[in-house]
C-alpha cells in the first residue's frame, strides 16, 4: 500500500484553496454528487439531533380517530393504524438510525482498529490467531452473522448495536492491519524508534494516523450498511423493539399489511432509509476519491 501524502491530496482536492466558504464551493464543483451526499447526511444528523423540535408530537401517542389518517393536514405524512403520527415517527426514527449507525460503526471501528493495529504491529502468533478469527467471521454473510448475534443477545437498542458492530470488525481489522504492515517498516517509524520512542506510542502517534484515510472511506461505507442492516433486522423482528420508532420496524408487520389502503406507511419509512443510506454512499464515494488515490480517475 502506498503512503498517502494527505497534504498534497487535500490540496489537490481543494481543501486548502482559501478555506471556509470557498472550500465548500470548490468541493461542490469538483464532487457534485459528494456534496449532495454531504447535504443529505447533514440533514439526517440535524433531524436526529433536533427531532423533538422538528416534530413536537409524541411519536408514541395513539389516537383512535387518526387511525390510518391520510397524509396532509395535521398528519403531514399520515398516521399508522394506531393513529401515531408518521412524520413524528420518521423524524424520531432518524435518532434510532443514527444511534445504531454511528454506534455500530464506531464500535466496529474501535474493535477493528485495535485488532488490526495490534495484529499488524505485533505480528507473530497474535496476528495469526486474529487472522484466523477474522477468516471465520467473514465466512458468514454480514446479515446472517448479525441475525445470529441479535438472536443470541435479545432485542434492545444496545444489543442491536453490538450485533451489527461485530460483523463489521473483520473488514476494518484487515484494512488497518495491511496499512500497519507497510507502515511499520517506513523510515519515519524507524526514525521514531531510533529516538527511543515506545512501541505503543509509535503505533498510536505515527502508524494510526496514517491508516486514517482508508479507514474513513471504509467507515462511511459501513455507516450505510449498518443502517441497512438495522432496518433488515428490525424488519425480521430481531432488531429494535417497539415502541422505539425504528424505520425498519415501521416497515415490518403492521405497516406492510396496509400497503393498499395506506401505502404511505410503506413508502415514507422506506424512503427515509433509502435516502439516508444513499447520502452516506454518495459521501463515501467522494471521500474515497479524495483520500484514496488508487481509486482516483
Amino acid at each position: 500500500m502506498a503512503i498517502i501524502n494527505h497534504e498534497a491530496e487535500l490540496t489537490r482536492a481543494g481543501a486548502y484553496v482559501t478555506g471556509g466558504w470557498s472550500t465548500i464551493v470548490f468541493f461542490t464543483r469538483r464532487y457534485p454528487l459528494g456534496a449532495v451526499g454531504a447535504l443529505i447526511v447533514l440533514g439526517f444528523i440535524l433531524t436526529a439531533v433536533f427531532a423533538s423540535v422538528m416534530a413536537p408530537i409524541d411519536p408514541t401517542a395513539t389516537n383512535a380517530r387518526a387511525s390510518l389518517a391520510k397524509p396532509g393536514g395535521t398528519y403531514l405524512l399520515g398516521a399508522d393504524f394506531m393513529g401515531r403520527d408518521m412524520y413524528s415517527r420518521i423524524v424520531h426514527g432518524a435518532r434510532i438510525s443514527l444511534a445504531v449507525g454511528v454506534g455500530a460503526m464506531s464500535l466496529g471501528c474501535i474493535l477493528g482498529v485495535s485488532i488490526g493495529l495490534m495484529s499488524g504491529y505485533l505480528g507473530g502468533w497474535f496476528d495469526l490467531a486474529m487472522q484466523r478469527l477474522m477468516d471465520i467471521m467473514q465466512s458468514l454473510p454480514l446479515l446472517v452473522m448479525a441475525i445470529v448475534m441479535a438472536a443470541s443477545l435479545g432485542p434492545s437498542l444496545r444489543n442491536t448495536i453490538i450485533a451489527i458492530a461485530i460483523p463489521l470488525v473483520p473488514s476494518v481489522a484487515r484494512v488497518v492491519r495491511s496499512s500497519t504492515l507497510s507502515l511499520r517498516e517506513q523510515p519515519f517509524v524507524e526514525a521514531a524508534r531510533a529516538v527511543g520512542m515506545g512501541e505503543l506510542r509509535i503505533a498510536v502517534r505515527h502508524v494510526l494516523p496514517n491508516t486514517l484515510a482508508p479507514l474513513i472511506v471504509l467507515a462511511t461505507a459501513q455507516l450505510g450498511s449498518a443502517i441497512l442492516t438495522e432496518a433488515s433486522l428490525s424488519f425480521l423482528g430481531l432488531g429494535i423493539p417497539e415502541p422505539h420508532p425504528s424505520w425498519g420496524r415501521m416497515l415490518s408487520e403492521s405497516a406492510a399489511e396496509y400497503v393498499r389502503s395506506a401505502p404511505w406507511l410503506v413508502i415514507f419509512p422506506g424512503l427515509a432509509i433509502s435516502l439516508t443510506v444513499f447520502g452516506t454512499n454518495l459521501l463515501g464515494d467522494a471521500l474515497r476519491d479524495i483520500l484514496d488515490p488508487r481509486e482516483r480517475t
Binding site: T60, T62, G83, P155, G237, E242, E257, S261
Partner: protein
Amino acid sequence: MRTCLALVAGSLAAAVFVASPAFAQKQGGTLRISHRDNPPSASIHEEATISVNQPFMAIFNNLVFFDPKEKVNSPDKIVPELAESWTWNPEKTKLTFKLRSDVKWHDGKPFSAKDVKCTWDALIGKGDEKLDIIRKNPRKVWYSNLKEVTVGSDTEVTFELGRPQPSFLSMLAAGYSPVYSCHVSGRDMRSKPIGTGPFKIVDFKRNEAIKLVRNPDYWKKGRPYLDVIDWKIVPNRSTRMLGFAAGEFDMTFDSDVTFPLLKDIQAQKPDAVCEARPSNVNTNLLVNRDAPPFDNPELRRALALSLDRKAFNDILFQGHALTSASLLPPPAGVWGMSKEMLETMPGYAADREKPLAEAKAIMTKLGYSKDKPLKLKVATRNIAIYRDPAVILIDQLKQIYIEAELEPIDTTVWYTKIQRKDYSVGLNLTGLGLDDADTNFYENFHSTSDRNYTAYKNPEVDRLIDQQSAEADLEKRKKLVWEIEKKLIEDGARPVINSNVANTCWDPKVKGVILQHNSIYNGWRFEDVWLDK
C-alpha cells in the same frame, strides 16, 4: 333445503351471512388456505393454538362434537361423532359412551374403545410410558376430575369422574379433544398424525405447506366433499392478504383479517365473503400483586379504573370488540355477563369521567402527581397483537400519573418470566379453547392451576368455582359464574380489557363454512365444505 337461521349476534354488525339456496353440494376440488405460521406440531392434544387446530382437526374425530351447523357452541347442542350415544349414571359421575363399530384409522386398523382409553389415560398421566402418546399436556386441568377410563367392550367406554361435573361433556366436545389411537407414537402424532377423520395427512412440510387429502373410507358416507385441502404457510401477513386478494388462496386463516384490513380486502376483492366473530381471546392485564407497588389494593383499583376500554376497542378493532369480563358475553357467548350487568362493574361504566377522577384521587392520595409520577415497565410478549394494546395502555396510564415504558419480552421466555413474577404489570392475551365456565376458571383463576400466571389466590373464589362446576341447573350455575366474575373484577385478578373480534374471509365459491362464534378452536372438520365451480 337449508336455510340460514338468522340468529345473529346483534353486536356483530359486520357479520355477513349468505343464505345458501338449495343447490346440491358438489364433490371434488382443492381448497387453498393460507396459514399464518408454522404449527409447532400436528398433535392437537399437545398444543394450545389455532395454528394447530385449524389445519389438523380435519384429520380426527371426537367422541362427541358441538353441532357444526350451529354458530354458538352450547352444552345443549352436542351431537355424537365416534360415539353413537351416551348416558350418565344417576349420580352423574359415570359417563358411558356407545361407540360406532364401522370406523377405521387412516392406516386401516379398526377403531375401538381401547383407543379412547389410551387417549385419556395419557391425558391424566396414566398413559403407557413406552408409547408416549403425548409429551406435554397443556389441558391437564380439564381432566383433573377424571379418575378412570374403563373399557366395557370394543364399542363401550366409561369415564369415571370424582364428582359430578356437567361441563365434562362439553370438554369432550371441544376441538381440543380428538380421539388418538393406541398404536401411533407421539412422535408420529406430532409430524404425520393418524386419525379417523374425513381427511388424511399427506405432507406437513415445516414452514412451507400442509396437505390433506380426502379419506375415501370415511365412516360418514358421502363426506367429505373436498378432494384436497392445501395449506400454504405464509408468515408475512401482508403477503397472505395480497395472496387472498389475488386469488392464490380461497380462504384466509381464521380471524386473520383485522378491521382495518377488512376495508382493504373488500376493495381488492369485492366478492369476498367476510364474517366477523369473536375469537374468544381476551386482552387482559397481569398485575403482580405480590410485589410493590401493586401489593397495594388501592393502586390495583386505580389501575383497573383507568382503563379506557372504548379507546382500545376503537383503535384496535374499530369499535367491534366486545366489552367483557373473562367470559364472552351473550349472545355470542353462553356464560358471560350481559352488557347491562357489566356496566355496573367498577371501571366498566360508559362515562369515563367519574372512574378517572376516582383513579386520580387514589393516585394523589398515594403521593403521585404529574411531576412525581409512578415509573414502571409494562412487560409484554414481543408480538404485534400483544405490543399494540400495550402501547395504548402506556398512553392511557399517563393520565393517572404513571409513566410506563414498554418492555418487550422475547416470546421464548415470556411465560418463564411471568412465572418467576419478574414483572409489575404485564399485558397478556388469554384464549379460551372452549366457551365454558369450568375450563376458564380452572385454567386461569383456580389457585392450583399452572396457568394462573398471577398466582391469584382467593379461597372463596376457589370454593365458588367448585360449587358452580357441580351445579346441574344451567341458570343457577350462571348466577354463580357471574358472582365469580364480579369478585375477579373487584380483586383485579386479571383485569380484562375486551374480547377480541376479527374477520375470516373466503371466496364465494367456497360453500358450507360455518364459523363458530364462541370458539375459533372448534368446527374445523371441513367435512361439509364444498366448492361451487
